[in-house]
């Protein structure tokens, strides 16, 4: 199987049960899916579990994918829904201190805080829909229209959520002194 096969050919191979295509499918999109899950859930272990669930659900429903539309937003929709379900199951409880941001790097500021940790903590303070909107827009670099398609809501709603997420994130980081560097 050619490495640069198109998405349609890749999906056809997966539907035919070709293990090589299934592996290539996972390897092609695992960074995107895992990144969204990790930003949303904050824990590497949870993110990997949910990412596996996302791929399993994708394989189960691959025959429903509309070949006229790009595959990436379709996968992100599954991932966003799974993350939302996981957060609801978690009861939106705050992440335990000892489990917070276990994926973050060891590089820390002199005062013991890490920019990435602060950033992730700021993200965790947002409402789930703001988080999804922010992560999809900035990390996955989707347009407002694509975010609206993934989240199945109007463009105006996405803009509103994105504006509020930016404002709350900026305010949180300012209060935490991130902008002092």
């Amino acid at each position: 199987m050619n490495v640069d096969v198109s998405e349609v050919e890749l999906v056809q191979g997966c539907l035919a049960g070709e293990v090589a295509c299934q592996r290539q499918f996972v390897e092609r999109f695992e960074g995107m899916i895992f990144g969204l899950c990790l930003r949303m859930l904050g824990r590497r272990h949870d993110a990997e579990d949910v990412a596996q669930e996302v791929f399993l659900r994708a394989f189960r429903n691959l025959h429903r994918w509309d070949r006229e539309r790009p595959l990436r937003p379709w996968l992100l929709t599954i991932a966003a829904n799974r993350c939302r379900t996981h957060l609801e199951e978690r009861g939106r409880r705050p992440i335990p201190t000892d489990l917070q941001a276990d994926w973050l790097p060891e590089r820390r500021r002199p005062d013991g805080r890490d920019d990435a940790e602060e950033f992730q903590q700021a993200l965790a303070t947002l409402r789930p829909e703001y988080q999804q909107c922010f992560v999809l827009f900035y990390q996955q670099e989707l347009s407002v229209q694509e975010v609206a398609e993934v989240l199945d809501c109007p463009d105006g709603t996405v803009k509103t959520w994105l504006h509020r997420a930016r404002k709350e994130m900026a305010e949180y980081l300012r209060k935490r002194g991130i902008d002092q560097d």
Binding site: Q22, V26, L38, E48, Q52, A116, Y138, Q139, K159, A170
Partner: protein
């Protein structure tokens, strides 16, 4: 331009991933401290986002997914095989039983119908006249083949029953009657004078006529039955 206008314009720019303020907005931020601080905070956020490190899963993620996928498909296939028979619900079983019973009844009905037609097809023409003569002409409704078969059945049973009963009567009577060529053993004018006790008094005077009549009637009955069968 108001501060609200400035904020909305800034967010629209960021929605389109533009990071430079137009001159109009820069002029407003230059003399508005609140809008200047807002723009500064948003720029810091933009820098933090750009520094957002790419994360990658463990190398075993693909293996884990493929392993779960294999187990799931295998489990699904096994489950489908195992649940083939239990998948039949009680309602389905009842419907199958009902359909079987209905099919059996239909088969029996068809078989009985063909059997009836084959058995009584020849009799319909020969016995139709006699049956019609025995049936009261009160009903003006047309008689169906099915009703005609039932009537032929009843008529046949009635003939056989009558013949059997008559034969028993004749047998009993013959035992009591004297031979046809024998002289009358009693005096008709005075029956009580010399009638043997073994003879039936009421039948004794009419022995020959009775026997001839019964024989004639039985011959007619048997002829009708032979022609019908």
């Amino acid at each position: 331009m108001t501060c609200l206008d400035f904020e909305n314009r800034v967010h629209e720019l960021l929605d389109h991933r533009q990071t430079e303020l137009p001159d109009e907005l820069s002029a407003h931020a230059a003399h508005c401290a609140a809008c200047h601080d807002l723009w500064r905070d948003l720029q810091q956020l933009q820098h933090a986002v750009e520094a957002w490190q790419a994360v990658s899963p463990t190398a075993a993620l693909a293996d884990a997914v493929l392993q779960r996928l294999t187990v799931e498909f295998k489990t699904t296939a096994d489950t489908q095989i195992v649940t083939t028979r239990p998948a039949c619900s009680p309602l389905t079983g009842f419907m199958v039983l009902l359909a079987s019973a209905a099919a059996l009844l239909v088969a029996l009905g068809i078989g009985w119908r063909f059997s009836s037609n084959a058995t009584y097809a020849n009799r319909q023409s020969s016995s139709a006249t006699a049956v019609a003569a025995n049936q009261p002409a009160t009903s003006s409704a047309p008689v169906t083949d099915r009703q005609l078969d039932v009537l032929l059945h009843d008529a046949r049973d009635a003939y056989v029953a009558l013949a059997s009963q008559a034969w028993q009567e004749v047998s009993t009577t013959n035992m009591l009657l004297p031979p046809a060529d024998a002289a009358t053993p009693f005096n008709v004018d005075d029956p009580a004078a010399s009638v043997p006790e073994t003879l039936s008094r009421p039948l004794a005077p009419y022995g020959r006529e009775l026997r001839d009549a019964v024989d004639s009637w039985l011959q007619q009955v048997f002829q009708n039955q032979d022609s019908s069968t």
